[in-house]
Amino acid sequence: MFHWLEKNPFFFAVGVFLVIAFAGIITILPNFAESSRPVVGLKPYTVLELAGKEVYKKDACIACHSQMIRPFKAETDRYGQYSLSGEYAYDRPFLWGSKRTGPDLHRIGNYRTTDWHENHMWEPIDVVPGSIMPAYKHQFTNLADIETAYAEAVTVKNVFATPYGDEFQATKAAWEAHKPKVLADAKAIAADMKNQDVKDAVAAGNIPEVVAIIAYMNRLK
């Protein structure tokens, strides 16, 4: 029947490639433009929030947490309004996750606050007895990489036209000029925190990872 193909490896390979290639095109392309349109009023992440998102990626919170609320009554009761594609328009990568060892976090900013996160990231079982989430004490001393976060903002602005302001430029000077803004955001978070070392670090111009991740958590609404 097909023996001819099996004697002609070139055509065999072309055949395989054709058979596997077109499904992707047919399923991904038709809604591509529509799916990348932001919902009205969506703002790009601030640099501090982006730095927090980096911490989220670095410590792989996605291993246990989703950020995608499905349209079921039980989920909207637990986590809030179901998720819409336009809400993720500035998420590169998307962080929907595939496992809920812990709860969904897509709207965590609506129902947890800075001081709660501070307690929780330091020692989850002190806040939620029985929790199996690891404590992330190292985030209280490791410093967030805000320069890389700024580089990301500039990149998505220049390459993907994400609406960042004119002050976002691909130069060291622009970064130095923007840095105080990031520090101010960090100070606002640190003001609601209790850990003295963190407060001191921020006052001295350093931003511990935990401040960045809390900024990111509070942003998720």
């Binding site: 395989v16 799916s35 590169r92 199996i132 990301e152």
Partner: protein, 488 residues
């Protein structure tokens, strides 16, 4: 047609991959057992500081298992099977020998490098594509090298008709190449921002829902072309070869192959059911997933029918036992997957432990069983020694079979319970359980899974020991065994 005996195959590359596959398998399962234990006993998160938390180690587990162990096993068997079914020796081409070795070393150091970067926290956070762009580049290079090996060997082959296993190796090569490149497309921020920040960091080419679509088009098919297609290729060679039986039906293998190729790529969105990707894409993925049962089962049935009348081999040869059981676990996961792809079932199953349960039916019962059986079959031929101990294989078989059963039964119950608890409402219509209730209830199942991990890991250590002994100190063979692998 030339006679078989005249050819002396060269296994130097296959041997290198064999050693490394065992090493990566050891690491992957050690870490797998550790992360399983961490979910049952969270204190274990702090063994090695920030590098020891569950979340840092989980991607290390999956990537070592996939890009180290599984892919290594695929390469090892390819450099063995490829020569034999094409009737051409690597020794015949200095060029291919060089490419093969380069392929090995780039893969080996690439996989080590990538593991270390993940531990350090460099991650794209896209499942099974976590490696940041420098490691991605290394992967693309080694993949091209593998392609040169495949088509180079085919180019100088003596056997004109490609054997079934070769179809699957070619498909693996093409499938992963296409998927990997598109899903990992990213812009390194260092270069796009005039030299600011970390050189390792990148942003995905796609955003939000589109990124999700591309990721699961990749993710599902990384499973397809990593855990299924090449492993089917392996069983099509090693089962008939070890048993001396002819393949039951050529037609069945043909229809299963092309059916699988055609259907697999449509099914990716079953990872995105009830997410904000378009409804029609989801429906299509569900429907295609159901149809996918048939080409999947086709190969498994073909293998079981190949053993028709050979009950005595099944009871006497532990390698046959591994492979027949692997076929049935393959049937289990390729029925379980499609049923989990039904929207109403997925409403419960998605996000729960039932999914890792499904995963490990496949990876432990099918992928790992096949890789170990294949390496066992290759060892006496590559090292010209009989397998060190049959008894150890038997012990290993029972340990690991028990382990798989414990793994999937515990996660099956855990996942279904958890999924239903999340949905449950009390008599007044309010949520019945707080999230933490649905966590603490899982403790016994997590503990059982840990036990299963220990058993499976011990089995793997026995395998590794048996292999090392076979390589180094087992009785030497004067002649290559035709079918059944000799063992002491």
């Amino acid at each position: 047609m030339q006679s078989n005996a005249a050819l002396e195959y060269d296994y130097s590359v296959a041997k290198l991959f064999t050693y490394a596959t065992i090493l990566f398998g050891f690491l992957a399962m050690l870490i797998g057992t550790l992360i399983a234990a961490q979910l049952a006993f969270p204190e274990l998160n702090y063994l090695i500081g920030e590098y020891g938390t569950f979340s840092r180690l989980r991607p290390v587990h999956t990537n070592t298992a996939i890009f180290g162990f599984t892919v290594g096993g695929v390469f090892a068997t390819f450099y063995y099977v490829g020569q034999r079914v094409l009737k051409v020796s690597m020794a015949e081409s200095k060029f291919l020998m060089f490419i093969g070795k380069l392929h090995f070393w780039i893969w080996f150091f690439g996989a080590l490098f990538a593991t270390i970067t993940l531990l350090m926290g460099y991650s794209q956070s896209k499942e099974y594509a976590q490696y940041e762009w420098p490691a991605d580049v290394a992967i693309v290079i080694l993949w091209v090298l593998w392609g040169i090996s495949i088509f180079g060997l085919i180019g100088i082959r003596r056997e004109k008709v490609l054997y079934i296993s070769m179809w699957y190796y070619i498909a693996t090569f093409l499938g992963i190449a296409m998927l990997y490149i598109f899903n990992n497309m990213a812009v390194p921020t260092y270069f796009a921002s005039g030299g600011l920040g970390s050189i390792m960091h990148s942003v995905s080419m796609y955003s939000g829902a589109n990124d999700a679509m591309v990721q699961w088009w990749y993710g599902h098919n990384a499973v397809a072309f990593g855990f299924t297609v090449p492993i089917v290729g392996m069983i099509y060679y090693f089962l008939p070869k070890e048993s001396g039986q002819a393949i039951y039906s050529y037609k069945l293998s043909l229809l299963s192959f092309w059916g699988l190729m055609f259907l697999y790529l449509w099914a990716g969105a079953h990872h995105l059911l009830y997410s904000p990707v378009p409804d029609w894409v989801q429906t299509m993925a569900s429907v295609f997933s159901i149809v996918l049962i048939l080409p999947s089962w086709g190969s498994a049935i073909n293998m079981l029918l190949t053993m028709k009348g050979e009950w005595n081999q099944l009871t006497e040869n532990p390698l046959i036992k591994f492979m027949v059981l692997a076929s049935t676990f393959y049937m289990l996961s390729t029925l379980e997957g499609p049923i989990q792809a039904i929207k109403s079932v997925n409403a419960i199953a998605h996000f729960t432990d039932w999914i890792p349960g499904h995963v490990h039916d496949g990876v432990l019962g099918w992928v790992t069983f096949m890789i170990m059986a294949s390496l066992f079959h290759m060892a006496p031929r590559m090292f010209k020694r009989e397998i060190y101990s049959r008894k150890l294989i038997e012990v290993q078989f029972w340990l690991q079979t028990t382990a798989v059963v414990l793994y999937f039964t515990s996660m099956w119950i855990a996942g279904i319970t958890q999924g239903m608890m999340w949905r449950a409402v009390d008599e007044y219509g309010n949520l019945m359980y707080s999230f933490i209730d649905t966590v603490t209830v899982l403790h016994p199942y997590y503990a059982i899974r840990t036990l299963s991990g220990v058993l499976y890991f011990v089995g793997f250590v026995i395998f590794a020991y048996n292999m090392i002994k076979t390589m180094s100190s087992s009785r030497e063979l004067t002649e290559e065994p035709q079918f059944k692998s000799p063992m002491a």
